[in-house]
């Protein structure tokens, strides 16, 4: 009997809670969803109302909150009471052991899987939109991970170095006819040079201030790219960038092209597969270099710097040089990725290097779990994959009508996901720390126990 009464009290409380939320959401959504401003034929703004849409949303929020406070919140509270298991379960350690080899194998076999799974004709889309696109972000994420995850320097202008790489390749390849394989390292060097140039004055700053200055530099570089029309062609961008060749053999239908040389039938798919393996190799190089660097004095210094800058300085570590190397390394990998991006697209414009891009890469790093390479890769797959998936959701048109375009909600969902994941797991998906130096045995450290310095 008492149980039933308790249930009823819960329902009443949940209803009250949900009504409160509903009323608030009504007023928050009223101006922007309740009303729509449209431009009429005489170019004047007119107002229309959208009451059904507004009430649908308020209803959705009301019922969501009702279910949350009736069922989900007590369940969460109950779960929080349970003691946390001290040792990871056998299943988790099995996954932890075999996940990386499996993921590497999958990445290498992916083009074949795509061809067998989707057929020869539609495999192009799967390899290009999903494979290459995701790997570019994995690589950028790993590059930024050196700066943010290992050295603890918050960089909001990372895309600037990506832009330097892309424009270096585009301009040098178009104007001087250098090849992709020559320009790839050159773009990396130029980017890391810019990293040092921009890094030198700002590395005295810490935390949020450093983030804002790097943001300012990122924006300055983008604005210069827009306004320096003689060099960069401004908003119009640079088109007709030479595509990479297979070590000198071009990918085209001519007699000395790749397909004719190796006796294949000509298909644009071959270039895409080649590009896929190039970016895969670049990403692996990034990961490998990072893993090795973490074991070197400089990598140890980065991680020490992240944990406590003052302690670092008192132990005689040259913090400026340590930060500069992290900045330069991160910038170099962004430069590689940038020149690959330019070579793959054949067209670049300042549009591709906005702040949003920096924010995307940074959120991949933070949501993946700073410092964790697997986490960053998983976050890149989840984010870029999910946003690309929205393009494929044609069946939604049958539910919401023909003019429903899921891609326009891409960034909306992206922003919401950033907030939600931060609330759910502020430390990112893979949040435990693997120490690179240890006394007797290697133990993962829960993120709750680590504390970032002021980097």
């Amino acid at each position: 009997m008492a149980d039933v009464r308790g249930e009823r009290v819960n329902v009443v409380l949940a209803l009250r809670d949900a009504s409160k939320t509903g009323v608030i959401s009504f007023f928050v959504l009223l101006p922007l969803i309740g009303f729509l401003t449209l431009t009429n034929i005489r170019n004047e703004l007119i107002l229309t109302t959208r009451w059904p849409l507004l009430f649908t949303w308020v209803g959705v929020i009301f019922s969501g909150r009702f279910i949350y406070s009736l069922a989900i919140a007590p369940w969460l509270a109950q779960r929080a009471m349970r003691p946390v298991a001290a040792a990871p379960s056998a299943w988790r350690s099995f996954v932890g052991k075999w996940f990386v080899p499996f993921a590497i194998g999958f990445a290498i076999a992916y083009p074949l899987i795509a061809i067998f799974g989707a057929g020869y004709d539609s495999a192009l889309k799967w390899i290009d939109n999903f494979g290459i696109q995701i790997l570019i972000y994995v690589m950028l994420g790993w590059g930024l991970n050196i700066v943010v995850g290992l050295a603890g320097l918050l960089d909001l202008g990372y895309v600037a170095f990506y832009a330097v790489g892309a424009y270096s390749y585009a301009l040098l390849a178009k104007n001087f006819g250098f090849t992709f394989w020559l320009l790839l390292p050159l773009a990396g060097i130029l980017s890391s040079f810019w990293g040092i140039l921009l890094g030198f004055p700002v590395l005295r700053l810490r935390g949020d201030y450093l983030a804002i200055v790097t943001l300012a530099f990122g924006e300055i570089i983008r604005l210069v790219l827009i306004n320096f029309v003689d060099l960069t062609n401004g908003y119009a961008g640079i088109s007709g960038i030479p595509r990479p060749s297979f070590f000198g053999i071009p990918f085209n239908a001519s007699d000395n092209g790749f397909d004719a040389t190796f006796g294949f039938e000509f298909s644009p798919l071959h270039r895409t597969i080649f590009l896929y393996y190039v970016i895969l190799a670049l990403a692996f190089i990034t990961a490998f270099v990072t893993v090795r660097l973490r074991r070197m004095p400089v990598g140890r210094a980065w991680e020490a710097l992240r944990e406590d800058e003052i302690a670092c300085r008192s132990l005689g570590i040259n913090t400026t040089n340590t930060k500069l190397t992290a900045f330069a390394m991160g910038a170099m990998f962004a430069g590689f990725a940038g020149s690959f991006f330019a070579a793959r697209q054949g067209f670049i414009s300042p549009e591709s290097f906005t702040f949003l891009e920096s924010a995307t890469v940074l959120s991949i790093v933070v949501l993946g779990g700073m410092g964790s390479q697997i986490g960053v890769a998983l976050a890149a797959v989840a984010f870029v994959g999910a946003t690309e998936m929205l393009r494929e959701l044609d069946f939604l048109k049958q539910i919401f009508g023909a003019d429903f375009d899921p891609t326009q909600y891409r960034m909306l969902l992206f922003g919401a996901a950033m907030v939600l994941i931060m609330i759910w797991r502020p430390r990112g998906l893979v949040s435990s720390r693997d120490p690179s130096v240890f006394l007797k045995e290697r133990k993962s450290i829960s993120a709750e126990l680590t504390k970032e310095g002021h980097g």
Partner: protein, 305 residues
């Protein structure tokens, strides 16, 4: 000389708007030590709210007195924007309080992306323009070929800014709420121990920040008469620059910084190159942070182990 005087007037007008937004940055940073990245987009939303309120008043309710309409628009925009920022704080920042340093920043960046895209999806990506509300100007100096003018709009912006800053200054300096706010700024734990409701104070800080952003938004709409969903980012960064220049955490600093940024931007556009005016503003941000990180009126940062 005439050009200089005219640019001075334009610069102070623009600077007042930046200053009002900058107060929001500086207050939030002062109290929870977080760069509220979404503040520029909250400002943009307030411009939309003001636009919609203005259209309702003039086209549906047929209010012909522009002054009355603007007054109502100002109040409506302040209320709705404050409510929005209150909700944002509750949803996106409060759960992360006491979490690690980067979490609220990432959450705020996500919120910023969410807000601008929400407006894009709900109101469409095109620019929204309304005919000028206030016409008329005073001619201050007339040399035949170049007249220095002070338009009614600019005068309205100056006076509204001055009145609201006075009210706001009174709120922070003389009331119980202001005292609670300053206490939380100095030490949240101690403030809580002596009976200040920290959560409520932080919420109210966000509400005040949004109200001032809404004032800026209404004035922006009146001055330019056009807005789009992407108009939050650049004014946001410039207002943040103003807050940093004035010394983050310092309220008069934010206003002075805002006016300085407005002046730098207009003079740069007038004398050098209009294409690079944003570069000038961003460079000021970088230079200030590198050489004068405590700003003009700020306290130097003390490093503690």
């Amino acid at each position: 000389m005439e050009v200089f005087l005219q640019q001075l007037i334009n610069g102070i007008t623009l600077g007042s708007i930046y200053g009002l937004i900058a107060i929001g940055y500086t207050m939030v940073f002062g109290i929870i030590g977080m760069v509220n990245f979404a503040h520029g987009d909250v400002f943009m939303v307030s411009v939309f709210v003001a636009l919609i309120a203005f259209l309702i008043l003039t086209t549906w309710l047929g209010i012909t007195s522009i002054a009355l309409a603007l007054f109502i628009v100002l109040i409506v925009a302040m209320i709705f924007t404050s409510l929005l920022n209150w909700v944002i704080e509750r949803l996106a920042y409060r759960p992360l309080r006491g979490s690690f340093r980067l979490a609220p920043l990432i959450s705020a960046i996500g919120m910023s992306i969410f807000l601008s895209n929400f407006v894009q999806v709900s109101q469409g990506p095109r620019n929204k323009a309304i005919p000028p509300m206030i016409r008329g100007e005073f001619v201050l100096v007339d040399h035949g070929n170049y007249a220095v003018t002070l338009s009614m709009k600019q005068l309205a912006i100056w006076s509204v800014t001055a009145i609201l800053l006075a009210i706001f200054w009174y709120l922070v300096a003389k009331t119980r709420l202001g005292r609670a706010q300053r206490a939380c700024e100095q030490d949240q734990k101690m403030a809580a121990l002596v009976g200040v409701d920290v959560d409520r104070t932080i919420s109210l800080t966000f509400v005040i920040a949004a109200a001032l952003a809404a004032v800026a938004g209404t004035l922006y709409l009146m001055y330019y008469g056009v807005v789009s969903f992407a108009d939050g980012f650049v004014p946001g960064v410039k207002a943040f620059t103003a807050a940093v220049l004035g010394g983050i955490g310092s309220l008069p600093g934010a206003v002075v910084g805002g006016i300085l940024i407005g002046l730098i931007e207009t003079f740069w556009s007038a004398y050098f190159s209009i294409d690079y005016k944003d570069v000038a503003a961003f460079s000021v941000l970088a230079i200030t942070l590198i050489f004068l990180p405590q700003g003009l009126f700020g306290r130097p940062d003390v490093e503690k182990v």
